[in-house]
Amino acid sequence: MRVFLVILFMIIFVALQISLAPIISIKEIAPNLVLIFVFFVAFSLGQTYGIWIGFFSGFMSDLFDSTNFGLNMGLFLIVGFVIGSMKARFYKDNVFVDIIIFAITILLYEIVYALFLWQFSVGIFFLNILRYSIPRVFYSILISLFLFSLLRKTPHLAPGN
């Protein structure tokens, strides 16, 4: 049941990222909903879920961005693996712990993503980090506050349920 639910949520989150995120974007800054979900699954359900969900949600996202195919797949996979291994040490019944670790994760993700995206034009890398990546980090953290609380209450998705 848990596996089925996690897969269903993964599909929903990828669909939301593609169609809802652009609608709720502010000046083209959209939250990274898929990363929020990958992080939540890895952090609450552990490494095995983290790896597979990270890989497949990245794969599905990349199918709609052929130019950078493989980039999200690899990055979400790493997030799933690393965050999944932190579950035993850091997971507590407090959503703010999730938020703090998520903030660090998304910041690193955005930096690595930007590095890949602008690898041919280093001069504009820092400018884009400040102009796009940092606002995206803050927007995603804001959305994650709401989503983490919601996902924790969803049956079968949090470890206690």
Partner: protein, 326 residues
């Protein structure tokens, strides 16, 4: 003891799975563009399509009243413009015939809703609700009311992915409306496009309008691309640095039109010499190369039509036609 053993096994298993999947991701990234993912993309699109369509539908309902009012105003303005254009078009056709110019393309448009945008920064690619079922194919140009949007790069049965002007792999041959200077439009950074390959001291000025030049065979001639915002010449460079702002605001884009095969066939014109001994056929080579079968059909159709026409006029002289020149 057994629990610990199981835990260690799971950890090492996860590590191996992680390594294999990571290598796969790296391979995919390095080989991107060469991977054949049509089948996977088809399945994925079919799963996500209902979600994307529903979200777009809900979004559209909310903006319906505002959109309706705006469209009514737009229709009134466009109706007047169509009347004016119809007259100009007729004049243009007559003049073209008089001077023996090729006929202009008439576009066949397929309307598509944007149901998704690529997850990355900027709108590098968009997902539209038209696919193979609707007659949309790879490399078809996509436009909006304001100008060029991009071209189709991937298609599935129900949806397609289009690469916008902001994609780093997107290039389009352009021409300056005023001075007829030609160059290649490509993405440079953020929302800035450049007109490349324009020699120094060429006549390009700020506020000039750029259109597609029709070179390359993908984009028809005369689609609006953008406006020149900055022109810089440096003696160290061999080409000018020209920045362009596209006419299309990608953040506000809700629907687009894919241009299918234009209604003009690969045969542009067939004419017969005065002595009726030679037939001259003007053809569009890009279309012939793309679809040689359709060309031969078009040729026979056009030829029969033309022969029919001449039969009516000078049936006795028709037997003298013995050569077809391309």
């Amino acid at each position: 003891m057994l629990k610990n053993h199981k835990k260690n096994y799971l950890k090492s298993f996860n590590l191996w799975v992680f390594i294999v999947l990571l290598l796969f991701s790296i391979f995919s990234y390095t080989a991107r563009g060469n991977l054949k993912l049509d089948f996977t993309r088809g399945i994925s699109s079919s799963i996500l399509y209902p979600f994307e369509k529903s979200i777009t539908f809900i979004k559209n309902i909310f903006g319906l009243y505002r959109k309706n009012t705006a469209l009514r105003n737009e229709i009134a303005t466009i109706s007047l413009e169509i009347q004016r254009c119809a007259n100009i078009k007729r004049e243009n056709r007559i003049l073209r015939e008089l001077y023996g110019f090729k006929p202009m393309f008439d576009f066949n448009l397929i309307h598509c809703e944007i149901i998704g945008k690529s997850p990355g920064l900027y709108n590098k690619s968009l997902i539209i609700d038209g696919g193979l079922e609707d007659g949309i194919g790879k490399n078809m140009p996509v436009i909006s009311a304001n100008g060029l949007v991009g071209k189709i790069i991937e298609t599935t049965q129900k949806s397609s992915e289009l690469s916008t002007l902001y994609n780093r792999n997107f290039f389009v041959s352009a021409i300056d409306l005023r001075s007829r200077v030609q160059g290649i439009v490509k993405w440079q950074r953020e929302k800035v496009l450049i007109l490349d390959d324009v020699p120094l001291h060429s006549d390009v000025k700020v506020e000039d309008t750029l259109l597609t030049s029709g070179m390359g065979g993908v984009f028809p001639k005369g689609i609006f691309i953008g406006r020149v915002t900055k022109v810089k010449e440096s003696p160290k460079e061999i080409v000018m640095h020209i920045e362009i702002e596209p006419f299309v605001d990608f953040s506000l884009l809700e629907s687009v039109f894919a241009i299918t095969e234009s209604s003009t066939s690969s045969i542009l014109s067939i004419s017969v010499t005065d002595n009726l001994k030679m037939v001259m056929v003007h053809i569009d080579m890009f279309k012939v190369i793309k679809n040689p079968q359709s060309f031969s059909l078009n040729l026979s159709d056009n030829f029969n039509q033309k022969i029919g026409f001449f039969k009516k006029c000078r049936s006795s002289a028709l037997r003298n036609i013995n050569d077809v020149m391309f």
